[in-house]
């Protein structure tokens, strides 16, 4: 059975030919797949310029890879037939970063929910349409009577983003790609939105790709994580191991830079790894992207790009510090993921129980007037 969606050795280069100075390698030789059987939650973490959004856009068919291909049910995304393409547009949904820009201010909220129902003929009658909308909104913890008929500007960012989740749910997709879905909403609302996404995964069996720069929330929601740095995979695997015991020096730097909400914990930043080793003299374009900031950089780091080393059953690291471990070819990377190695849905966590309790409370309390956003 082919994967639901698969990126096969994809490379994306922006800018002109080889001699063009503005040529930017946004993502290099990356492979990744999402199973259609086991619903999974995978995070893609990276800073700006890491290639995480480029990857998302290629998985969505919004950008074509320069090399390699993206497959949907085994077929090249760029060459899908009309009916396959339609099915793809239904199976794979996206939630973007900015909950303010995705709404047309002239239409009521209903419009954004009615459009997919009409386009995909999900209901024939007016009542059927309404029932679908109500069911979706309630699944993300929003009271339909409070938002239907209102305009986008009357709602808070958190509400708008949850309506986007409800819109995605309407189509019962197999995969939702969420690109920084909470970076523009208040911290107190983040948990609620991520919770509603997690709920779709557990209750409706929808896989989730969570793209973020925030390691803390990635740690909270996902099972497996991929850390990207300047277009290359630095480290991937079980989120618990990667975040709590990072191997790649870049992941260590990233984890050490998170300001933890506890005044007694250290905030080491660059002190977590130390000063860069110094100039190694790069020749050619095969090298570890992190070498110039890495305190452990060795001559071999600028001669070839480090392959993936299979350091633990559930993780790989692209760093020569781990060259004692066996290599794992990039296309097999996802085979180490926990989600690929279990039968059925992920185990229930306490997170979801807490979430249920919370959704009830928010339904009770949400009759308060809308805030005047500043």
């Amino acid at each position: 059975m082919p994967a639901l969606i698969e990126a096969k050795n994809v490379t994306k280069i922006f800018g002109g030919g080889l001699l063009d100075k503005s040529r930017t390698v946004a993502l290099k030789d990356f492979s990744f797949q999402i199973d259609s059987e086991n619903p999974s939650v995978t995070s893609i973490v990276g800073e700006s310029g890491s290639g995480k959004t480029t990857l998302a856009r290629m998985l969505l068919g919004l950008a074509a890879p320069t090399e390699g291909e993206v497959l949907y049910n085994g077929k090249n995304l760029e060459k899908l037939s009309g009916s396959d393409r339609r099915q793809f547009l239904r199976d794979v949904q996206v939630i973007f970063q900015d909950p303010f820009e995705v709404y047309n201010p002239f239409y009521r909220i209903d419009h954004v929910l009615e459009t997919p129902i009409k386009n995909f003929r999900l209901a024939d009658t007016e009542k059927g349409r309404r029932d679908l909308m109500i069911e979706s909104l309630e699944a993300v913890g929003i009271r339909p009577e409070e938002i239907l008929g209102r305009f986008p500007h009357e709602l808070s960012g958190g509400q708008r983003q949850r309506i986007m989740v409800a819109r995605a749910l309407l189509l019962r997709p197999k995969l939702i790609i969420a690109d920084e879905p909470v970076s523009m909403v208040d911290a107190s609302l983040r948990a609620t939105i991520l919770g509603s996404l997690l709920r779709l995964n557990r209750e409706f069996g929808i896989s989730l790709i969570y793209i973020t720069h925030d390691l803390t929330t990635a740690f909270q929601v996902s099972e497996d994580i991929m850390v990207l740095y300047r277009g290359s995979l630095a480290e991937a695997g079980d989120v618990d191991q990667v975040v709590r015991h990072p191997e790649h020096p870049y992941t260590r730097l990233l984890v050490g830079s998170i300001p933890l909400p506890d005044p007694d914990l250290p905030w080491e930043g660059e002190r977590a790894i130390g000063r860069p080793a110094g100039e190694l003299g790069v020749q050619g374009d095969e090298y570890c992207q992190f070498h110039d900031r890495c305190p452990y950089a060795m001559p071999m780091c600028v001669q070839t790009h480090p392959p993936l080393f299979h350091t633990h059953p559930n993780r790989v690291t692209s760093c020569y510090l781990y060259r004692e471990s066996p290599e794992l070819p990039m296309p097999q990377m996802t085979s180490i993921f926990k989600s690929s190695n279990r039968e059925g849905p992920p185990e229930e966590t306490e997170q979801l129980d807490a979430l249920d309790a919370e959704l009830e409370v928010s339904q009770e309390n949400s009759s308060t007037p809308t805030s005047a956003d500043d």
Partner: protein
């Protein structure tokens, strides 16, 4: 004119001195629908050399406070009442010209989007020179060059950055230039309004580390405004929690994270994700911020409070010191 005001003092005396004292500040925005009470009776003070944090959700009034302290509130916004004492002078009563001279010289701002606050068609050097000219500083070109270079090195940048244009710098570098500009006249108070919210986490650490070191060098006080509790925990000494235009709790950072008293503060702390355990509850604060146009009567948080009592909706609680250095505005802590 650019003398450092604090360097000669004994550290102990400096500790006792209040650099900034805000008393019962009210800032309203007058809209067609009525007055939006963005800041509604806020008082706090800042000791010299202290790092003070102001947290709150968007719309809680924290950025309005920042602009009010600099008297940069534009119509329809207006400071309706209260006092802002900076080194003993009430800024609210100053003329516009007197206030202009205080800005940068005594109180400076590091704004949220660095890229927006630097002039894109001017070299970094010229942005410093403009600031100096505005404060009538007549330094010979050579001396000036030296000083700009010193300021840039102080924030961890190369001297050559002075010759560059803003677009040649990364976001983190631009934010450091803004810090260098802010400290160029050695102010006694630096207001940093979400100085790193547009930056990556590693760069955020670099910028905050820079801000901390220059602040300690100058002996200046800092007000850090934001909603990232992690940043607050790691940076400030004391923390004030804003809710719907009011300060509901002020405590030392350890007390705030270890033993928050206000129900809102407690929920805020409880909703923080951690790297300790994935079993942590993924929980937000239910409900939404109240409208500032028609704020709820009594305690502004009573509509969302899990511990709400009968009189919470009618009687506004007053910010009181219920434990040493721990202030809270909540009826739960009032003597019966």
């Amino acid at each position: 004119m650019v003398e450092e005001t604090l360097s000669a003092e004994e550290p102990k005396a400096a500790e006792l001195k209040e650099t900034l004292k805000v008393e019962d500040l009210h800032v309203y925005f007058h809209t067609a629908a009525g007055a939006v009470k963005a800041v509604n009776g806020v008082s706090f003070s800042l000791k010299s050399g202290e790092r003070f944090g102001l947290v709150g959700e968007s719309g809680s009034g924290k950025s309005t406070i920042a602009l009010s302290l600099l008297r940069l509130i534009k119509p329809p916004g207006k400071i309706e009442g209260g006092h802002v004492f900076l080194n003993g002078t009430d800024l609210v009563t100053l003329t516009e010209e007197q206030m202009r001279r205080k800005r940068l010289d005594e109180i400076a701002l590091v704004a949220q989007g660095a890229m927006n606050s630097l002039n894109p068609v001017r070299r970094i050097r010229d942005q410093f020179i403009l600031a100096y000219k505005d404060h009538d500083i007549d330094v010979k070109r050579s001396g000036l060059e030296e000083r700009i270079g010193d300021l840039l090195t102080r924030v961890g940048l190369n001297r050559e950055v002075a010759n560059m244009f803003p677009h040649e710098l990364s976001g983190g570098m631009k934010q450091r230039v803004c810090i260098a500009l802010a400290i160029s006249l050695s102010p006694s108070v630096i207001i940093a309004d979400e100085p790193t919210s547009a930056l990556d986490v590693v760069v955020q650490w670099q910028v905050m580390d820079t801000l901390r070191s220059v602040q300690e060098d100058l002996g200046a006080s800092v007000i850090l405004i934001g909603h990232d509790m992690g940043l607050m925990a790691q940076f400030v000494d004391r923390l004030g929690v804003m809710y719907a235009g009011k300060l509901v709790e002020i405590a030392t950072v350890r007390d705030m994270f270890g033993d928050p008293l206000h129900p809102y503060g407690q929920m805020l702390i409880a909703s923080l994700p951690s790297l300790e355990s994935r079993k942590a509850r993924l929980e937000g604060i239910p409900g939404i911020t109240p409208s500032l146009l028609n704020p709820p009567s009594g305690c502004p948080f009573h509509t969302r409070c899990p511990k709400v009592m009968d009189h919470c909706s009618s009687v506004t609680p007053i910010l009181q010191e219920v434990r040493p250095d721990h202030w809270v505005a909540c009826h739960l802590y009032e003597e019966a």
